[in-house]
Symmetry: C2
Subunit: 403 residues, 2 copies
């Protein structure tokens, strides 16, 4: 697999997080010789909140988390790559129970305090004996280090590990937020998943954490798209250990800002590792009747195969942007539309901009990061969605994956 | 351009249609030396009905037709390829008026009786002088022959002309329906359009024709998708000359059946010429709560890039079908799902079918025509949507088009 041109060059080395211990192991879930299981253990008072896929065919692990996250308490997280434990019926449900029991027994906690996530091939029964074989090793090697290993252990077709860290000063104390993510966009072969796990040492009641996480995800992971395919297993979970002894009860404020910022960085890292991605694209729609109308139009542009292939071809094909605005079904007036690629206005008042130079816009299209802006001229609604281009490599990766 | 593997080998040679005269010419709209203008003239009593794009950024020709089709009368149709006259502002509106005036004067009819369609590049002003230069030639060469030429004149990136004919015996008389279409699916480069024109010698009141056409399009053109991108210019117009002296006032019956059948053939011809298409795919969803729920799920499967790339790779990747069912947002119960590729059941009761053989299903996937069937096990709603695969050729065609 060719690494994404956006792969970070500096390894992830965040500060350790008090109250979080990490271990990884090679369980041989799909292939031997790579770390494919991640265990995280959390301090006693840790609160938890999660956001999960909207799929009607959610994975067994998602079902487990949904059922057990309601009390807002968690002590451990077990994640495997190589098998999604999705569409596995009764066997899948039994596997989640067995996995949680195993972790609970090893750590002396309740099974309901164990969060689970699985990513990889669908429809294959998950063999929990493989967890059993490495459980002692995992528990024995738990340590505050290992965030980079953790980010690597949850990868499937990702070409680089995705991680981010933020520090915030609150009441004279330093709060840390660390997060990891995996996924080649909303889409990945065989529904390998967009997963993200975030931990902080702040003390945050579960309902506050849930509100902040939902707000943050709405502005980050829910604003990215590789090709509009929604995974069965999408999962973002945040843990707050409380060990820094800083209580946060405000859903807005410096902590929420730092969390938002971290989630957005992780979301961008996912898009930049989108399958076959060579361009990172921000699509901004302004002048809409409402922010949600702007989002729907931005998403329609970002999901359009015609727009995405044009970007892959470095073609400033603004006609396709008009097409996407037209098909979005939201209020739009053809004769008020203006469109920019980068800072170059290519269309205005419902016609090609008479001043625009193909040469200047071509230079914009050759850059690795591209912005498309549309002004509808109707109101003050605005929104941004991030996506990548659609390349032959995308087709190759997804046409040849399973066989 | 490599021809689609589904290109028909027998040229189209339908019976002439009394009351319809055809002419084509080389106007040099985009390139010189190819027939790019089509004129059809219709008998005096001809009724007309149309179905147009739902785009909020419709082309000037679509605006013209919508405004002038309301009285149900038409005497002429002028179509050009090479320029879509879309996103051309005031100039575009002026061009439609000038074109209709020109045809009206040449044929001695009213401008409102002239239907217009344009397909090709977007955002370029349409130069009506090019029509003026060939108008005498067009009017002078009008003849009942020339259906194949007509189908060719409206092509843009189509790799073959699309046409179909049906005959129906009604009251001891033979009624003919001829139709042509263009488009590489719902999508085509620079929003070149899905256009279709149908004519019959039956005598059909405009409101009946409109009802039949709407019914027929709902079951044919509105059930196909290449990649979900909606053109600014999609247009289907039916003309009934009445010259066969057979009055039809029933929206159901043998004529409607023949019309439905013809529209479906044309729609399938469009999908089979979808850009980069190597596989023709029928997606049937059964056991849904309603027919419309089944259609939404079938369309989600048919639009999923992950499903379409898997088919291009001849991979029976049923996990992606589960994913698409899950993301459709319609009622579905993971644990009741069953999935077939061709006649091979690959999943049942929410798990991989224990009896399924990869070898047998691989043989199914190597065929040029593939059916995917999903049974939701919830109700009796059923529906079918047709699509093609997503190949590297699609990316190449659309990444390299404009530059």
């Amino acid at each position: 697999m060719t690494p994404s041109p956006f792969a970070p060059v500096i390894p992830f080395d965040p500060p350790a997080l008090d109250g979080v211990a990490i271990a990884t192991a090679m369980a041989g879930i799909k292939v031997k010789g790579r770390r494919d299981v991640l265990l995280m253990a959390f301090a006693e008072a840790t609160t938890v909140a999660g956001v999960f896929t909207t799929s009607r065919c959610a994975s067994a692990a998602v079902d487990w988390c949904r059922a057990n996250i309601v009390d807002g308490k968690a002590r451990a997280l077990l994640v495997n790559s190589g098998n999604a434990n999705a569409f596995t019926g009764m066997k899948g449900r039994a596997a989640t129970k067995a996995s949680a029991d195993m972790v609970a027994q090893a750590l002396g906690i309740a099974p309901e305090e164990v969060m689970l996530a699985s990513t990889g091939v669908i429809g294959e029964p998950l063999q929990t004996e493989k967890f059993a074989a490495v459980m002692d090793e995992l528990v024995g090697s738990l340590s505050p280090e290992g965030w980079d290993d953790a980010a690597r252990a949850i990868m499937t077709t990702d070409t680089y590990p995705k991680a981010a860290s933020r520090s915030v000063e609150i009441g004279g104390k330093t709060i840390t937020i660390n997060g990891i993510a995996k996924g080649s966009g909303m889409i990945a072969p065989d529904m390998a998943t967009m997963l993200s796990f975030v931990a902080t040492d702040a003390d945050i009641p579960a309902d506050v954490l849930k509100a902040m996480l939902s707000n943050g995800v709405a502005k980050s992971f829910n604003k990215i798209t590789v090709d509009s395919d929604t995974s069965t297993s999408d999962t973002v979970i945040a843990f707050a250990t409380g060990t820094a002894d800083v209580l946060i009860t405000d859903v807005a404020g410096p902590f929420a800002d730092a969390l938002d910022d971290l989630l957005l960085e992780l979301a961008h890292l996912v898009v930049k590792d989108g399958e076959g991605c060579t361009k990172f694209v921000a699509v901004t729609v302004a002048g809409a009747e409402s922010d949600s109308s702007a989002e729907k139009i931005a998403r329609t542009i970002a999901d359009s195969p015609l727009v995405k292939t044009a970007i892959a071809g470095e073609d400033a094909n603004w006609g396709r942007v008009v097409m996407a605005v037209g098909k979005a079904g939201e209020p739009a007036d053809r004769d008020r539309l203006a469109i920019w690629f980068g800072n170059v206005r290519v269309a205005v008042d419902g016609e090609r901009d008479p001043a625009y130079s193909e040469e200047v816009v071509s230079a914009v299209m050759r850059k690795p990061e591209i912005t498309i802006k549309v002004d509808l001229g109707l109101g003050s609604g605005t929104n941004t969605v991030w996506t990548c281009d659609l390349t032959k490599a995308y087709v190759a990766i997804n046409g040849d994956y399973r066989t």
